[in-house]
Amino acid sequence: MGATGEPVISMRGIRAELGSRPVLRGIDLTVRHGEVVALLGANGSGKSTAVRSVIGQVPVSAGQIELFGTPRHRFRDWARVGYVPQRTTAAGGVPATVTEVVSSGRLSRARFGMLRKADHAAVRRALEVVGMADRAKDSVNALSGGQHQRVLIARALASEPDLLIMDEPMAGVDLASQEVLAGTLRDQVASGTTVLLVLHELGPLEPLIDRAVVLRDGCVTHDGPPPKAVGQHALPGHDHVHPHAAHDAEPIRTGLLS
């Protein structure tokens, strides 16, 4: 646990390419201890690439990334980071129970992959937090989309992280499950967890967000209080799909700043 205000994620001048196409063109982003930061932007704006560069999944061609004050390539304390990748399913090619999947999230705290009593207790707590304790022994194949997302979040919470990084945790989740997830996140934030999350829209998480960072074409275009949705965009369930004919023809409207 660090003092409030200490940088937990620090990105300076981050550039990244996928193939020859530049996806991040000099991103500066600092997430301080206790903050909840939303990364917003249209499809292809680079928001997923930005968080995946933080965890080392995407190679960076320039710039510096620090996690908890340590340069990322020397950072080893992965138990402090909980990651929810962008997925629609928690299932693999072989059946696995909810507990088995969530237990993988505890490996960062386990030595030599041995789970002790305290580790099993942490896995159970993570399942209770997302309201999936009664499904612990069920196969993940039997779950709905929202329940898959709750399992993925429980897996990230199993290591009792200080920092949660979530990539579109609300994708494909119905509103009722979104409320459950928002409640989970509220409890985590209240206990001092720092959160960086990629969102397509603010939705039920809006009251939790301290700061919004909007990306466009790999550059930060807004860093400050979350933009207020107005008009039709503010309606619950509005999914911000705009049938633009050619996105070069007019400025990209994320529906968040317009």
Binding site: G56, Y83, P85, G93, S108, I165
Partner: protein, 300 residues
């Protein structure tokens, strides 16, 4: 049980049991990461090893082990660095491996396609004392890896990206999986043959998951099926004059068909049990609730 009196049958049964354990044990991780046919690819590459063994007058088993490990590592490297056409590179590796095997064995003074056939389809009755030693050592390695590192291998095979963020050495574990699969292929080579080995890695796992809900149970049932069919196939081939490799593979597919047929009523019973446990969760008939819940709000 008179077959137990013969030394060649004792060796054959020991080799068969070890293959029955190891092939599904590593195969489950390949199926989990949706690389079910990787074993087949390694089997093709191992043929070059067998051919080289004959050409250089080396043990074909050990030569095949070395070459298939190199091939498996190469496949893993293609997966890392290969950009768009990884499948083409893999195809070249597979067929290059097969062609290399045929070429080398025909160049060898003592080799012919007849020798190759015993490796392609297995030749359980000719398993020698030194083959058994090699199979035991290699099988011990496979069991050690697949059981000892089961949590790590599970995490990496389930979600590679997430595993990286838990600090697991993902690349090392991927390489270890590839090497273990290669070792298993050479263990199984004398029993079911290089062309059929992948069946024993994949089909017992596919059969087991018709019945199971957890990874641990799938692992146990797959290994049990593997041991049952390899023993059954070997004993059948002793009494009836049939090739053991083909018998084992057909028995495995038979087990899959039977378990799939059993699975449907089992799934129905589970669904009923679930419905009684959570009556509200799954009502038998549709009813329109009087009040609207948050979940009823559908975006337009």
């Amino acid at each position: 049980m008179d077959f137990l009196d013969y030394a060649f049958m004792q060796r054959a049964l020991l080799a068969a049991v070890l293959v029955g354990i190891t092939a599904p044990a590593i195969g489950i991780y390949l199926v989990q990461r949706r690389q079910a046919l990787m074993g087949d690819g390694i089997g093709h590459v191992a043929m070059t090893g067998v051919g080289l063994g004959f050409l250089l007058s080396w043990s074909p088993v050990w030569m095949a082990t070395i070459v298939s490990i190199l091939g498996a590592v190469l496949m893993e490297l293609i997966r890392w660095f290969g950009r768009t056409r990884g499948d083409i590179a893999l195809a070249m590796l597979f067929y290059g491996g097969m062609a290399g095997g045929v070429m080398f064995i025909n160049l060898a003074p003592t080799g012919s396609n007849a020798n190759l056939t015993s490796y392609l389809f297995g030749s359980l009755s000719t398993v020698s004392e030194s083959d058994v030693t090699a199979i035991c050592v290699l099988a011990a390695f496979v069991v050690l890896v697949t059981l000892g590192l089961r949590r790590q291998l599970f995490a990496v095979s389930q979600d590679e990206e997430f595993a990286r963020v838990t600090g697991l050495p993902v690349r090392a574990l991927n390489l270890l999986t590839a090497i273990t699969a290669a070792v298993t292929v050479t263990v199984a080579m004398r029993v079911v043959g290089l062309l059929l080995v992948s069946a024993l890695m994949v089909v017992p796992v596919a059969a087991a998951q018709q019945l199971t809900r957890s990874f641990a149970a799938t692992f146990a049932v797959a290994v049990a099926i593997g041991v049952a069919v390899t023993l059954g196939g070997t004993i059948t081939s002793y009494y009836q004059d049939v090739p053991p490799g083909a018998t084992i593979v057909l028995l495995t597919i038979g087990a899959f068909v039977v378990l799939t047929a059993l699975a449907a009523p089992l799934a129905r019973r589970r669904a009923r049990a679930l419905a009684t446990a959570h009556p509200a969760g799954d009502p038998a008939e549709c009813a329109i609730p009087a009040t609207r819940a948050a979940g009823d709000e559908v975006g337009v």
